[in-house]
C-alpha cells in the first residue's frame, strides 16, 4: 500500500513536471523557428533596447576602465615617441595625398570625357566599437552609435585597412555590424590588378574569406589584392577587402577556390569608419580645390574623403 501510494505520487510529480516542460520546449522551438524565418530578433532587441543597452554598457566597462588606466599610466616619453611617430606618418600620408588628389583630378577629367557617372565623394563618420562579446559563433561587433546618430541598416563600415562589414541591426543608440568574415556574409569584389570580378564569402573564421567558382582561365594569382567592385551599390567601389593567399581546384576540378586574408585590421577598442551615402558631387568643369589636410582635424567626426581611392603601384 505504501509502495503504491509513493509510486503514484512520484508518477503525478513527474507528470506535473513533464507537461510544463513540453509546453516550454514547444514555445522555445516556435520562437526559434519564427526568429530563423522572420528575423524576429532585431525587432525584439530594438523594442527592448532600454533593458539591453545598460547591460552592454556594463559589460564593456572593464575594458574601457583598462584603456583609461593605460592612458593614465602612459609616460611622457612614450607619449612624445608616439607623437613623433604620428607626425612622421602624417607627413608621409600628406605627401601621398597631394599626389593622390592630382591623380584623382586627372581621373575625374577622364571620366568627364567619357561621360561616366561614377563620381562623387563619400561621407564617413567615425564611430567607436563597444567592447562586448556577442554570440561567439558569429562574427559581429557592436558600435557605439545608433539611429539617433543617423546610422542605417545596410551602411558599410571600414577601418584603416579596408572594408570591415555592414550594419545589420540598429537601435536608438547602438548598432550591430556583420563582419565580412561571418559565414552569412558575401561581398562583390574585383581583382585590383586584372579587374576579374567575383564574390568573397565569409567563412566564420576571423582571418579568412573564400572566393568560389573562379574559372580556370581567370587572371588571378596568389598575392592579388581584392577591392570592392561597387556592384550591388552597397559597398563603395575601390576599397581593399582582402589579399589572395592560396588558390586550389574545387571538388569538380572545373573551377578554382581562392582563400583570402581580410585587409581590415580589427583591433578591439579601436574606432571604425561608417560610410554614409555617396553624395554625388556637382559636375564642375574646374577641378575642385584640394582639401587642405591641415584644416581637417584628425578627430573630426565627419570627414570627406575622395571616393576613387585606388592603391598606387
Amino acid at each position: 500500500m505504501v509502495y503504491a501510494s509513493s509510486s503514484s505520487k512520484r508518477f503525478s510529480d513527474s507528470a506535473g513536471e513533464t507537461l510544463p516542460l513540453l509546453a516550454y520546449l514547444i514555445l522555445a522551438s516556435a520562437l526559434m523557428l519564427t526568429d530563423h524565418s522572420m528575423n524576429l530578433g532585431p525587432q525584439a532587441r530594438k523594442q527592448l533596447s532600454v533593458v539591453i543597452e545598460p547591460l552592454w554598457w556594463l559589460a564593456s566597462l572593464p575594458s574601457r576602465m583598462w584603456t583609461g588606466v593605460d592612458d593614465e599610466l602612459a609616460t611622457r616619453q612614450a607619449l612624445q615617441d608616439s607623437n613623433e611617430r604620428l607626425e612622421r606618418e602624417l607627413q608621409i600620408v600628406n605627401a601621398r595625398m597631394q599626389r593622390m588628389s592630382a591623380i584623382n583630378d586627372e581621373n575625374q577629367r577622364l571620366r568627364d570625357l567619357l561621360n561616366a557617372r561614377r563620381n562623387g565623394s563619400l561621407q564617413v563618420q567615425m564611430v567607436s566599437i563597444l567592447d562586448v562579446d556577442l554570440n561567439p559563433y558569429r562574427q559581429r561587433i557592436v558600435l557605439n552609435a545608433g539611429s539617433r546618430q543617423g546610422v542605417k541598416v545596410g551602411q558599410a563600415i571600414m577601418d584603416a585597412g579596408g572594408i570591415l562589414g555592414q550594419i545589420i541591426e540598429v537601435t536608438d543608440t547602438k548598432a550591430t555590424a556583420l563582419l565580412v568574415t561571418d559565414a552569412d556574409h558575401a561581398i562583390p569584389v574585383q581583382v585590383a590588378r586584372s579587374g576579374f570580378r567575383g564574390i568573397a564569402f565569409g567563412t566564420g573564421e576571423p582571418d579568412s574569406l573564400l572566393i568560389s567558382d573562379i574559372p580556370q582561365s581567370a587572371d588571378i594569382r596568389k598575392g592579388d589584392l581584392l577591392v570592392t567592385s561597387g556592384m550591388g551599390g552597397r559597398f563603395p567601389a575601390g576599397f581593399p577587402v582582402a589579399t589572395i593567399q592560396s588558390l586550389s581546384p574545387n571538388d569538380t576540378g572545373l573551377f578554382m577556390v581562392g582563400k583570402a586574408k581580410p585587409a581590415a585590421r580589427l583591433d578591439r577598442g579601436l574606432e571604425v569608419l561608417l560610410v554614409n551615402e555617396i553624395i554625388p558631387s556637382p559636375p564642375t568643369p574646374k577641378p575642385k580645390p584640394v582639401i587642405a589636410p591641415k584644416t581637417t582635424p584628425v578627430t573630426a567626426p565627419e570627414t570627406v574623403i575622395e571616393k576613387d581611392r585606388k592603391k598606387t603601384p
Binding site: 526559434m32 532587441r45 554570440n135 559581429r140
Partner: protein, 161 residues
C-alpha cells in the same frame, strides 16, 4: 526577511550570469566561456526549487538570447532542459558530495553543449570548434567554488537577520 534576501541574491546571481555571457574575453577563449548562467540556475534549482522552475529558466534563457544576439529561444530551450533535469534528480543531487555533484554538473553542461551543437547543425551553421567543449570542463571546476561561495553568503545574510 530571510526569504527576501534569498530572492534578491537569486536575481543578482542570475543577472551576473547574464552579464558574464557578454563580457569580452580574449578572442579564441570566448568559445570556452564557462556557462555561469547555467551554473547559477542549477544552484537555485537545487536550493530554492519552489521558486526556481522551468519558467525562470525560460525567462533568463530568453534574456540571454536577447543580450548575446543569438537565435531567439535557443538558450531558453537549453536552460529549460537543464532545469528540468536538475529538478528531476534534485533529491539525489542535493545529497551528493561536492565532487560528485561537480561531475553531475559536468554531465549536465555536456548535455547542454550537445543540444547546442544539434541546434546549430539544424539551422545550418558550421559545427562547434573543439575549444567550445572546454566550457563544460571549466564549469565543472567552477561549480564547487560557486556552490560554497553562495552558501556562505546566504548563511551570513541569515545570521545578520
Amino acid at each position: 526577511m530571510m526569504r527576501q534576501s534569498s530572492t534578491l541574491m537569486r536575481t543578482i546571481t542570475l543577472w551576473l550570469g547574464l552579464l558574464f555571457q557578454i563580457i569580452p574575453l580574449p578572442s579564441g577563449l570566448d568559445l570556452a566561456r564557462p556557462y555561469l548562467l547555467a551554473l547559477f540556475l542549477c544552484y537555485w534549482c537545487l536550493e530554492a526549487p519552489e521558486k526556481t522552475g522551468l519558467g525562470t529558466a525560460f525567462f533568463y534563457g530568453l534574456l540571454s538570447d536577447l543580450f548575446s544576439g543569438g537565435l531567439l529561444g535557443e538558450q531558453a530551450l537549453r536552460l529549460v532542459i537543464l532545469a528540468f533535469l536538475v529538478s528531476r534528480f534534485r533529491a539525489r543531487l542535493r545529497f551528493f558530495p561536492l565532487w560528485q555533484q561537480a561531475l553531475a554538473v559536468f554531465a549536465l553542461l555536456l548535455n547542454d553543449r550537445l543540444i547546442m551543437s544539434l541546434l546549430h547543425w539544424l539551422v545550418n551553421d558550421h559545427g562547434l570548434s573543439w575549444v567550445a567543449w572546454l566550457s563544460p570542463v571549466l564549469g565543472m571546476f567552477l561549480w564547487p567554488w560557486l556552490f560554497v561561495g553562495i552558501d556562505m553568503l546566504r548563511l551570513r545574510a541569515r545570521e545578520k537577520n
